[in-house]
Symmetry: C2
Subunit: 199 residues, 2 copies
């Protein structure tokens, strides 16, 4: 009894880059697509068309994988602009954020920033630290402003009035006002028209 085409199954193998790309996309898909798919490593691997051991060995854990995807995509989709002024930089940053929030993927990524942090209370310092890294863009904006001779608001205030609204809306899926939102936030932060100019 012969089985036709008994070739030993070409076993086509993906290159490391293909694996990386496919797995990343699979994570996004699983976060987006089904209702409450629980983003397990076998599920990701299957969706990516990759053996699950490849994922286990490369990333080690679900947390690490998620963090990798989030950092990679967010740094690509929510970049740091350099417009030459504090107000311009903050507005550009907020605009990029609003644009991200308006896409399903963007909301998922920002939300995952909160989820991907180590979940314990003991690790609260870690979480703050990781988040601070994500806030590197804000810090650099402030530093550039100082170099220029501008006086930026303290980080706490930027957190409260610019970062927090964007993150809250992303996490809970609340649409931002239809138009002028980035400018509105920056105006509230810096004052009506241009209050942050040096003396």
């Amino acid at each position: 009894m012969w089985v036709t085409s008994k070739e030993p199954a070409p076993r086509l193998r993906k290159s490391p880059e293909q694996v990386r790309s496919a797995v990343h996309q699979a994570v996004i898909d699983l976060l987006s697509d089904p209702e409450g798919a629980d983003l397990t490593i076998p599920a990701v691997a299957q969706r990516a068309g990759v053996n699950h051991t490849s994922v286990y060995r490369r990333w080690g854990s679900r947390e690490a994988l998620l963090a990798d995807v989030v950092v990679t995509r967010l740094e690509r989709d929510w970049p740091l602009a350099d417009t030459g002024s504090l107000r311009g930089d903050l507005t550009a940053w907020a605009e990029a954020g609003v644009a991200s929030i308006r896409t399903a993927e963007g909301r998922l990524l920002i939300r995952a920033v909160a989820l991907s942090m180590p979940g314990s209370a003991t690790a609260q310092g870690e979480r703050a630290q990781q988040f601070q890294r994500r806030l590197g863009a804000i810090e650099r904006i402030r530093e550039r402003a100082v170099t220029r001779g501008e006086v930026p608001p303290p980080l706490d205030q930027i957190l409260d009035q610019l970062v927090a609204p964007l993150y809250l809306r992303a996490i809970f899926g609340i649409d931002p006002p239809a138009s002028g939102y980035p400018e509105l936030l920056v105006d509230r932060l810096l004052g009506g028209t241009g209050a942050s100019r040096p003396g």
Copy 2:
């Protein structure tokens, strides 16, 4: 070969209320205590000294259990005050929030509000809706203000300037400024001293 004390193991059983209480506390403990304990139902049950089937049958899923704990505790720890004025109500609400944020348990609960939502993008509407329920306090504060003849800021603005900073700090474990923070937030929202008085 006789085994000494062959009594059939008294099989001491907890009452439903004891189970509920022990399980709730176990969830809090597991969220707080270890590094990255993953809050599985067996783990919760073991920590609570309860059979895991009890948890499965009563709550059904990890998500439902977490949501139950969060709602119960938050409504207890972050209540809604009635001070007789919009400014007073908002300040009291913010003060309660800051107090919660300063405790490890409070941060965990608020953070869990975000985590306990159904994780899919499709269910974004649901998440917003659930969050809106948590915002019932804010809505009631606004309604009472309107009844009094005051003109409260739109919900969006309260979200941006009062709710978002508190939630962001809770989720990412960023300590609020040492003193005067609730008043600071409310002042930014309503204006320096008492701008929300009716005409």
